[in-house]
């Protein structure tokens, strides 16, 4: 087999073998260099895969050469190719910054294992995205989750361990719910391959186990994606984790949850069954929009900015959930595009927090006083990513909001379109609060003191992407369009 045909396996296997090699190196500097190389190789693979999928259609890869139905198959279509690019791209952008980042924000005795855990989390998330086997999805989910609990617990604040513990308990409950759902679906179909299961489910879809399976899977993914009101693990975890970890997980972890929801609902249970017969739209839309409004409102009152961003994530995941719940073509595009776009914005915003913490030790409202003059580049990034978060035209945020509103209108629910716009206006308040403090208050004495280039450059790159991809939408919307058509769109 040629290298190109091996790419799906390499996508997961490279970071997976990189993790133990990192642990064997011992010296943090060496491990960092190695992790950066691995992350960039992974990114290159995912880009190659995306290109190949767009050219030649879905790729099927069978592990161990077993027939697809018996063994574990990796299936790559435009949807998960885009998610792979997002996850590995965020890792590639953030990983270089970890060399100095971990010196400030990671407890000393855990530093030598930081990169091992980061690569494991990366491998797990890529595995979730790439696999076409439903039990394999659970295994990768647990690999990435366990690594992320450990990463959150590496925060220097003692509350980080508490946050990690709660994350662990709730994450395990979520994953176990998914496991029960998988078991029930397996019980009725006798297969674990997603495509095979999708073909067999319609025959038994009226039975109680299948209905229960959908319910279990829905609740489990809702916890993993932090859909309101199952979001309570997220604010503490993202506030007390090292900021670079928050940046990576803020950009990817909840998105992977949203991806699982999309994949399981559309490719396994089928949109007709889930939306037509079981009417999960009636759960997702109200909860999603309630989360969007509640998350934004709570974010306005936060003193710690990382907590503010975490609540803003609750709101953004709410938009994604609502977009999935509308169950029409535009909604599907909005969900996919927002998964990608929100990853870019949240990644950039948490990187800004990492820069500020690097220089000032904390990221609360006081420390942002006069920061516009003290750290102009960092604050510039905050403004750009913040505008994108609000949904100002010519940023990526606008694109996703546009499709979201249009899908609400398509579904004939124009009052909900108003709710979406209203929730976006609340985002103006919480972003403006920070901008106001940073630019229009007198700075405390001290010269210009920009964060180190290794931290600022990734933030600048992500902000640039926020604008570039907000102007040229071929990549995100184009791919999302193909993906939405392949998934089947409206019931």
């Amino acid at each position: 087999m040629s290298l190109l045909q091996q790419l799906p396996a390499l996508q997961v296997a490279v970071p997976l073998i990189g993790a133990p090699l990192c642990a064997l190196m011992g010296r943090p500097r060496l491990a960092w260099m190695f992790a950066v190389v691995v992350a960039w190789i992974t990114f290159a693979i995912s880009v190659a895969l995306l290109e190949h999928v767009l050219d030649a259609g879905p790729i099927h890869y069978t592990m161990g050469g077993w027939p697809e139905i018996l063994g574990i198959a990796y299936v790559i279509d435009p949807l998960n190719a885009l998610v792979l690019v997002l996850v590995s791209g965020m890792a590639a952008i953030i990983m270089p910054a970890t060399r100095i980042g971990i010196n400030v924000e990671v407890v000393h005795r855990a530093r030598h294992l930081f990169h091992t855990m980061a690569l494991l989390a990366l491998a797990g998330m890529l595995g979730i995205a790439i696999t076409g086997d439903i039990f394999n999805l659970y295994v990768f989910l647990e690999i990435s989750s366990l690594a992320s609990y450990a990463l959150v617990a590496m925060g220097i604040d003692r509350r980080a361990t508490r946050a990690a513990f709660h994350y662990l308990v709730q994450g395990t409950i979520g994953a176990t719910f998914i496991l029960v759902g998988i078991g029930l679906a397996y019980m009725m179909t006798g297969t674990l391959n997603m495509a095979d299961m999708a073909a067999r489910l319609p025959g038994v879809s009226h039975t109680a186990p299948v209905q229960a399976a959908l319910a279990f899977v829905l609740i489990g993914t809702a916890i993993k994606a932090a859909i309101f009101p199952a979001h309570s693990w997220m604010p503490n975890a993202y506030t007390y984790a090292p900021s670079l970890v928050s940046a990576f997980f803020g950009a990817t972890a909840t998105k992977i949850g949203a991806y699982m929801l999309l994949r399981l609902v559309y490719s396994v249970f089928g949109a007709d069954y889930a939306f037509g017969e079981m009417k999960i739209g009636w759960v997702l839309v109200p909860l999603g929009l309630a989360g969007a409004v509640a998350g934004s409102i709570v974010a306005v009152w936060q003193h710690d900015l990382r907590r503010m961003l975490a609540y803003s994530s609750v709101a953004q995941v709410g938009y994604i959930a609502a977009a999935i719940g509308f169950a029409n073509h535009d909604g599907l595009i909005a969900a996919i595009v927002h998964v990608f776009n929100h990853g870019l914005m949240k990644g950039a915003l948490f990187l800004v927090m990492a820069c500020v913490i690097m220089r000032l030790g904390k990221a609360d409202m006081e420390s942002f006083r006069g920061l516009g003059r003290r750290m102009p580049l960092t604050m510039g990034c905050f403004v750009v990513a913040g505008l994108s978060m609000i949904g100002v035209p010519a940023t990526v945020g606008f694109i996703s909001k546009w499709y979201l509103v249009s899908s609400a209108l398509d579904a004939g629910l124009w009052p909900l379109a108003l709710v979406i716009v209203g929730a976006s206006l609340i985002a103006v308040i919480y972003i403006w609060r920070v901008v106001d403090v940073a630019y229009f208050t007198d700075p405390p004495p001290g010269a210009r003191d920009e964060a180190p280039a290794m931290l600022v450059i990734p933030a600048v790159v992500l902000c640039a992407l926020c604008i570039v991809l907000g102007v040229t939408t071929d990549l995100t919307v184009g791919v999302a369009n193909t993906a939405a058509r392949l998934l089947g769109g409206a019931p």
Binding site: F135, Y138, V139, E142, L146, Y149, A150, A153, R158, R159, T161, R162, A164, F165, L168, V169, T172, I173, A175, T176, L179, V180, G183, Y186, M187, L192
Partner: protein, 120 residues
């Protein structure tokens, strides 16, 4: 199916549902972190039992190839649940490790005492 058969015929499923509920109840109501972990283990135990119950084939023997055997129980759920058990072991040990660190920094493993300590 008459009600008695419905209850007795699904004994394993009822058992697993009971374990799931007990576990979830403990996780939600107890403030002690060790008890939470115990509850989580009971919760996961319910899933293990559920998967094992799936594999049962009436009159089937152990899934080892043998010339006398005609009917085997389904080995796949066993393999799946072995994976899930390994995951549960990893989760439990990570949770206990976190509790050790929490105990060192808060000198308590009670939810309400920690919340009070964080407020001070």
């Amino acid at each position: 199916m008459n009600p008695v058969d419905f209850v007795i015929g699904h004994a394993l499923q009822w058992g697993s549902v009971a374990l799931l509920m007990i576990g979830l109840y403990i996780v939600m109501t107890r403030g002690n972190l060790i008890k939470k972990v115990a509850g989580l283990n009971i919760f996961q135990g319910g899933v293990f039992l559920f998967y094992i119950s799936l594999s049962n084939v009436r009159d089937g023997t152990a899934p080892i190839v043998h010339e006398d055997a005609v009917l085997y129980t389904n080995p796949l759920p066993h393999v799946l649940i072995l994976t899930a058990i390994v995951v549960a072991v990893a989760t439990t040990s990570l949770a206990l490790a976190l509790i050790v660190r929490i105990r060192e920094s808060y000198s308590s493993i009670e939810e309400d005492e920690m919340a009070k300590a964080d407020l001070d």
